[in-house]
């Protein structure tokens, strides 16, 4: 058990990469499918191990692994997990097998390559989430782009090359700025301490001069803003989503975008607290604009997928404003809003993930995503209708779904910090319902008058298999949020209350599962 606990993050991160290799070596596509699904499931189990053994009493870094990598430059292999990345790790490993199920029936000669790329992508995402060394993080961060580039570029729609090129150049441009800022930070830290290190835990202690902070924060924030994407850096997203295959859209919306908001929480805010306080009004303003603007744009879309893509711009606006709701005269962040932001990342992954899946379901059958081509599907596809309505409700934040818990906490905290911003953002709750109900109405309701739609078959068992977990989770997350939030509370409060002087320590590995270890809980107090 000790071995497992002290290596679980490496195992979880690199298992998908090994799976990718095994997929390439598989003799047939049939084998490759099972290999990839098996690998993804084992990875999911590994992440559940982290989940169950995670100590929910401490804000510290757990399951930490530290090894020297390039000692000359102070570059290390550092992995760890705390409340900020725990949920995202599990979301990633949870979505991957579902996506593999959704592509199970695709049968072309390149499909093996697709599976291998997809597993590589999972490795990149997990690595970015667990890395606590700037260089180590940066490697994963960039590595993640390459498989995504090919997934859109090879398996995408008509304009895939344009879309994928735009996606990669845009995000790469942001990354480069971040890299430059990282180098400056690295040098600054050396000047202050005489030690070369890229260890994030050490760098948290670096206090850059205010003016430098502004530049560094801007560079980091811009990289993450493009990734999120925040208004006005969002235009690559509708293109990428429209062209990407369903699987690509699900993972893009489900996890990749969250790395932007995660980056804000992990890097930009705690590393440059003074700059955070300075930039907060601007970022909140852009976030609120994004909420309204994304929603109004989504409303106008005629293509179901593009509509969901624009809805992401709106929803992630919520996450952004929740991440940076400054209270107490700039001394702290609103713990309510921050909790909501962390939670909403997951909710968005679940609800938008299932929306993309569902658009994929009808696209597979009709080879069109235009709303005008549908209508009245509730009659021939009643289970599809139920799934779409559940996903819609979660997306519009109806109480009882996870979306409500996240949005509510974000709006509450934002309101405490800045009533005007909170009240304006609350309009997003109305506008979200406007476009999502329009989507439902145009697809599900009205007369079933298109001959082709009359023949449509309801969900297959395989489609049930990947849609049901998401629908169930949307409700579970709305009714039992504490199952999830209990784990992340200390980390969130640590960041919220101490972002001005953020420190995080590596905890010794523990050996008692949290769920079984009530005694341990007592001892921890």
């Amino acid at each position: 058990m000790d071995f497992l606990n002290s290596h679980i993050l490496s195992i979880t991160t690199f298992l998908p990469l090994l799976t990718a290799l095994a997929v390439l070596l598989s003799p047939s596509l049939g084998t490759a499918r099972w290999v990839s699904l098996g690998g993804a499931l084992v990875t999911f189990l590994a992440s559940l191990h982290i989940w169950f053994y995670f100590d929910s009493q401490t804000p510290g870094l757990q399951f930490t692994e530290i090894h020297d990598w390039i000692p000359t430059f102070g570059i290390r292999y550092i992995m760890g997990v705390d409340g900020l990345n725990l949920l995202l790790i599990v979301l990633t490993t949870f979505l991957t097998p579902l996506i593999l199920l959704s592509v199970w029936n695709i049968d072309d000669k390149k499909q093996k390559a697709f599976l291998a790329l997809f597993m590589t992508l999972e490795c990149g995402m997990l690595g970015s989430l667990v890395a606590f060394d700037l260089v180590f993080f940066y490697v994963f961060w960039e590595a993640m782009l390459i498989p995504m580039y090919f997934i859109i570029g090879i398996w995408g729609g008509k304009n895939r090359v344009y879309a994928t090129t735009k996606f990669i150049i845009y995000t790469f441009f942001g990354s480069l700025l971040m890299l430059a800022a990282m180098i400056v930070l690295y040098v600054l830290h050396f000047q202050q301490s005489g030690v070369y290190t890229t260890n994030l835990l050490d760098l948290y202690g670096t206090t850059a001069p205010y003016n430098t902070q502004l530049w560094l924060f801007a560079a980091f924030a811009l990289a993450f803003a493009i990734k999120v994407p925040m208004f006005p850096f969002h235009t690559w997203l509708p293109d990428a989503h429209t062209e990407a295959p369903t699987s690509g859209s699900v993972i893009l919306a489900g996890v990749l975008l969250k790395l932007g908001t995660y980056g804000l929480l992990r890097f930009a805010i705690p590393l440059f607290p003074q700059a955070t306080a300075t930039f907060a009004p601007l970022i909140v303003a852009l976030g609120v604009i994004g909420i309204i603007y994304g929603a109004l744009n989504a409303w106008m879309q005629k293509d179901a997928k593009k509509m969901v893509a624009y809805s992401s711009v709106s929803h992630l606006g919520f996450v952004v404003i929740g991440s940076i709701a400054v209270v107490s005269g700039g001394a702290a962040l609103s713990a309510e809003a921050l909790t909501g932001a962390v939670y909403q990342q997951i909710n968005h992954g679940i609800s938008t993930g299932s929306l993309f899946f569902l658009v994929g379901v009808i696209y597979d059958r009709r080879h069109t995503r235009l709303l005008a081509d549908f209508g009245g599907l509730a009659k021939v596809m009643p289970w599809f209708a139920i799934m779409l309505i559940v996903a819609t409700l979660s997306s519009v934040g109806l109480p009882g779904t996870g979306g409500f818990v996240g949005e509510f906490l974000i709006l509450l905290g934002t309101f405490m910090s800045n009533p005007l911003a909170g009240a304006t953002a609350a309009l997003g709750v109305l506008l979200g319902a406007v476009y999502m109900l329009t989507l439902c109405r145009k697809i599900l309701f009205g007369p079933l008058d298109n001959e082709e739609n009359k023949k449509l078959k309801d969900l297959t068992p395989r489609e049930f298999a990947y849609l049901t977990p998401l629908a169930v989770l949307a409700v579970v997350m709305g009714v039992f949020p504490n199952l999830f939030l209990d784990k992340v509370k200390p980390s969130i409060e640590n960041l919220a209350n101490n972002f001005r002087n953020y420190r995080i320590v590596a905890e010794a590995p523990i050996a008692t599962p949290y769920l079984l270890g009530e005694e341990h809980k007592e001892m921890g107090r």
């Binding site: 344009y162 150049i169 609103s334 309510e336 009643p382 109806l398 109480p399 609350a426 009205g446």
Partner: protein, 649 residues
Amino acid sequence: MLFWLILFFPLLGAFLNGLVLRKVSPTVSHILGTSALIAAFVCALLTYLQFLAGGGQAQVITGMEWIEAGTFKAPFNFILDRLSGLMLLIITGIGSLIHIYAGGYMHEEKATYRFFSYLNLFVFMMLLLVLGDNLLVMFIGWEGVGLCSYLLIGYWYEDDKNAAAGMKAFLVNRIGDIGFLLGIFLTFKYFHTVSFSELKQMILSAGAQLNGEQIEAIGWITLALFVGACGKSAQMPLYVWLPDAMAGPTPVSALIHAATMVTAGIYMMTRLNFLFYLAPTTQMIVASVGAVTALFAATIALVQYDIKKVLAYSTVSQLGYMVLGCGVGAYSAGVFHLFTHACFKALLFLGAGSVIVAMHHKQDMREMGGLRKYMPVTHLVMLIGVLAIIGFPGLSGFFSKDEILWRAWTGGDQYHIQWGLGALAAVCTSFYMVRLLMLTFYGKNRSDHHTQEHLHETSVVMWGPLVVLAILSAAVGYLNVPHIIHIPGLTNLLFEHYLDPVISIPPQVAEHWHHLHAEYPQSLEWAIMAVSVAGMAISSLLAISMYSNGFGRIANSLGSAFKGAHRVLTNKYYVDEFYDSYIVTPLRDMSQFLWKVVDVLIIDGIVNGVGQAFMLIGGLSSFRMSGSLHRHGMVMVVGIICMLTVLFF
């Protein structure tokens, strides 16, 4: 235990009908849905009796934790007191009757599992709404009933009109919900809790000195929450969804859009009466909105032909009375009218439903007439319902509506206008309800030959519940007989004192209210009552003389004499058209502009332009929209190198 079962049964019913038993016959769905509700009613009744036997003290029932973050806490706690207890009985009791009736109404449908599933889910959400001990649990119910309303209005979704009406209801309600949300935020910001019991204690405890900021906040909190109430309880200017909601099956109109959901706003304001008492400006607004809505909707109802539309506007108008009651601080009068209205309006809707079924789903009163002959039971119960709503002395509406008008008059000089509007609305009510009765049941039958042949009384499944509701409509008024009328063996104003523990006037304003409640001369109360009764009598007689045999000479000549007014009323003051041209269309145009011009042309144009510029600096061919992946991969790599160069040197 019993308490939890009240919530459990409807949820179970919804789950079984909706997700498990989808292949069963309509009869099975009906029996399942109805028994779930009757079981809930029995549990509610037993819980209520236990509660009364235990002294009737408010109790908080603690459930599991729900949302916890930072200092915010909203657990699944429930409150059982005289107010929520009464609501429990109304919801499950009248709900059960309507469920029974619905089996008959929906018997031509092939599959009703969806219908009964939604209906059960609605009851569950409504129970959460009234039982929640904090604003957040109430909000689950608040939006949850909106969801069920949306699903049920659009039950026959194949007609796009119904789907549109459902969506309109959901969206207009959401406008109100934003107000509700802001109310929650403000409450937490200034009082650090969203629990009703804690809030009440905080406001009422003698030592609590609210600071000026908090007093001001209460003004905003109540105003924001009232916006929510306007959405749910269909008040001006957010009432527009309710008439359209009549697209749903009639039992839905009876349960959701008359008896229960639409009263949520009144319930919420009564629950938080201690806050509203501290916000005189809000109260003034509440009373005015209620009174204006009461009259406004009543005038529209005067000229409608669709039997359900008349009832819909009548509901809006009656809700206006309840809101007026809350606005003048007469919460128990408001809740009492809620109670009597739930009985007689459910009765009227279901009666109308029976008529509609008999008429082969025709709703236009111009094609009805003379149904008394064919449907004697329905006629009798509808007559009782009409007499109840118009305030015929001795029936429930007389006691409850007059109580509100009396309280409006005595609520202070500033409320005399509101009283006037309310009294005028009462005159209209008598007219349009008697008109409805005349056009439907009296005179000659005007339907076509085919329909006429098939006219007959409905089955006992449908008229049985109507009889029960008719008895209630006639009787419940005696729970609150005014002081000036002495009936041997009846306690006067039983109901008003019933709610005493819930209605708590904060010490700061107690003196003002005490002063207002000082004795008024009995003659004044008699006079106010006489005005109401006289108005009722005159307008009823007018309606009888005009419509006793269809659209008589007087009706037609009146219509042509006031052509303009008639047209404005028939078109409902063009409010929908106004919203459409001045809100929806501009918003849509703006969104189109944002997408086509701002997003695609400007923002994306700049992005692509910058991309091209970089490529040109790199000395490469332009950033093309298509081409082979390999080539673009190469372009990309070169581009990246260029950017690196630019950045670092």
